[in-house]
């Protein structure tokens, strides 16, 4: 895993001392405050992008997903009920958008992609996207989708198991179980490199 880069701890987004709290911005935005909505998006765009990129491993996809989420937030912002932290809630939406994007791209884009490859018109992968390469080289890429999204939320964004369970719509014990499994798989890959 030489290429993989050490995880930078999730920046604690939210209210720095001099800043307006997320929750306040949300309520303003849902009352139609354009500036509040904009600053909310600006504040959390990086978070959305990071989660989307870790889930998909593609910058283009991550950008698409983020745009979808931003647009979706216009409608959804009013339905934030404050039961969870805003970022947790937001990550849930990003995660669902990732699924949605994946589903759409599986049907249409991939078909198009295959066709362009068949026709020989596709651009050759130039290998310049180093981030793409690092993603592909990381353990993350090899995890199954449920495990991957769990680890992105827990290890990547620092969500507690309970919060991640909320986002993923599963029991908290499932999250813990998945993390154990991730740990096991990560450990195994190392331990059995030269066995058998």
């Amino acid at each position: 895993m030489g290429i993989a880069v050490q995880l930078v701890p999730a920046e604690v987004s939210g209210s720095a001392p001099g800043e307006v709290a997320d929750e306040e911005l949300v309520s303003r935005a849902s009352r139609g405050d354009r500036a509040a909505f904009e600053s909310l998006l600006r504040r959390h765009y990086d978070l959305m992008h990071r989660v989307a990129w870790r889930m998909s491993g593609s910058q283009a996809d991550a950008q698409d997903i983020c745009q979808d989420v931003c647009c979706a937030l216009v409608e959804r912002i009013g339905s934030f009920r404050r039961e969870a932290k805003f970022t947790t809630w937001l990550i849930g939406i990003v995660r669902n958008a990732c699924h949605d994007h994946h589903r759409r791209s599986s049907s249409v884009t991939r078909l198009k992609g295959h066709l362009t490859v068949l026709a020989g018109t596709a651009a050759q992968p130039d290998g310049r996207d180093l981030f793409r390469r690092s993603w592909l080289a990381s353990e993350l890429a090899r995890l199954e989708a449920p495990l991957r999204e769990t680890v992105v939320l827990v290890a990547g964004e620092g969500l507690t198991h309970a919060e991640a369970a909320l986002v993923l719509g599963v029991a908290e014990s499932t999250v813990s179980g998945r993390m154990l499994e991730v740990r096991r798989q990560a450990g195994l890959a190392k331990d059995t490199g030269d066995e058998c």
Partner: protein, 736 residues
Amino acid sequence: MSADHDDIMRLPEAPTPAPDAREHALQQALSRFDNENLGEPQGLPGEIRLIERTAAPVQPSRERPVMNRTRYLIAASLACILAGSGTALHLGHWPEPQRAAAPLERQMASNEVIQAPVPEAKKEAESQIQSQVPVEQRNDTPAPAAAIAVPPVAATPSVAATSAPAASPSTSPPARPEIKDRLGVLAPSYMPAAPPPPAANEMMRKLAPQSPAPVRSASRSDSGLARAQQAAPARQLAAGEFGGGAQRERGPVVVEPVGRDKFANAPENPFKIVRDAPVSTFSIDVDTASYSFMRASLNRNVLPQPAAVRTEELINYFPYAYEAPATASEPFRTNVAVFPNPWSEGRKIVRIGIKGYALQQANRPRANLVFLIDTSGSMDAPNRLPLVKHSLAILLTQLQPDDRVAIVTYAGNAGTALEPTAASEKSKILATIERLEAGGSTAGAEGIRQAYVLAEQNFDTNGVNRVMLATDGDFNVGITSTEELKGFIERQRGKGIFLSVLGFGMGNHNDALAQALAQNGNGVAVHIDTINEARKVLVEEASSTLFPIGKDVKIQVEFNPATVSEYRLIGYETRLLNRDDFTNDKVDAGDVGSGQSVTALYDIVPVGGPLVVDDLRYGQQAPAAANASATGEYAFIKIRYKLPKSDQSVLISTSVDRAAEHARFEDAPLDARFATGVAAFGEILRGGKHTGKFGFDDVLKIATAARGDDAYGYRSEFLQLVRAAKTASAMRSQRP
């Protein structure tokens, strides 16, 4: 990779988002935000579907939506063919928002009757609808309940639309004439509207006031319903009540739960220095659940989790041909062997084999059995309830005519499926078993109470009274406190009613709870993964599963410091006892069934051998052998047991001396060698901390040579499992 446990894995660093993409997304969102807050009549731009679906939590099984859409598409194309090419043309004219709000596929799919006659197109009607739509669009109130209740029926467009634009939604729709259904089949939004036959037309005029906002309901009722459904989980997402998966129908594929298994286990026993701790005490363990679980896992080409492997259960899975005790008065006989350790030069293995007295069929006590069967929804899988049914039917063949059987099921609330019935009434029992069905949640505690009540009603003072619990261990309703359950089972054990646990299924098997319950209930915990396993446990070993000959069997081994410097008990980590527990009859321990054999292996370092634990610099020097007469002995074994009806323990003891020693591993008894192979296998699966370079191939070599008679093929199966483990681990290391 990092070995650090806190740092699970290094996540790749995310790239900085491209500024222009960010700006673009923000501008998009903001312009939409402006539109939204201006309350523009064109409402929501094209991608409302995305938003809706984004908001809905994606259920765990992802094949569902794909399936659905495929179905819709098929339905849509079918309808299109029937409706003719005009449909497609017409679709092109339909206002964009309307289509987006109510996806074509959904509407088509909702109308299941497609064979309705396609009437001639009528221009006026069409234009009416067209003009109606924007109005409906504007007052975008939630679809009225009545419209949802009658999805496609309200689809009669032209008449109803014109006559009742502001109908009251509270009126419940009356039964509609059939003709309306027929017409409703081809919803107006994508069909040139049909002129209703005069009679129907008249009728509908009358009914019209009661049909709420017809065009709306026609084009949107279905989507409205879909919306309502989607909106609910969406709200849940916001409200923090995630997991709306329950309301979705289940896919045809049975998905095994993953990663919810719970195991009882502890790390491998370490080496102990004889001078410091000469005595090793443990309780016997005749469970075999761990073996079946490991097999089920390996058969899926996955190495079992180390925590799932309990080495002693692997060893005790196999019958060993130890010399049997002659009489019932002394129900146990010990077989000891000492031989070189195959995985470590200079170390030795001490094998302690205990064989229980086998009851004769004739003087077998009467059995009073209560089957407590988990019929919760989680049991609804081929390897669960159906296997339980087969297993019970198999067990029935082993019962005597005067044995009694009762069946209690529990799912949501517990119920008695079969009152205590003599085993001679086979057909009645079998019919009851056949009728069992899975569904609902699990109230394990409630069911256990009821089962014990039945067992008590029918208590047989001279017989064996046993509750047999068949479950996947997913107790999720009722008393979930394991301690409370354990206490309850313990008190029942005091009354003479024992408990055995038959575990089924994988993925959410609560092995830890099954173990705890069975240990407290003086019974075995077995895991039944195949019909063959059911046969082994319930037929070939039926008498040992059902009829105990000794309870609270404890073993205490005292090593001789003059001959042994270090020792390690292989397995039995969950069964270790304190030194003083041995003579304390209040301390519960494992039980041995009729004819059962139990094997324990010690990995010892003889004096002068390669020490595992370093000597202390400041420790005292080894005292000279205290007892010159005992220098020849390796250890002294004491076994305490109670007869099933007794509370007084009896002591058997035997010494391990040079007479039991075999100079070469190859000369050791067949069973001892095989058990060693199994032990090595278990240790390797658990991480191989003490087995050094010993690999699966070495296990194969030992076990193949020691296969012996193998009447039931268990040992051959073991060889297959070792090979499977070899492939599974090779695959694992091949991963890119």
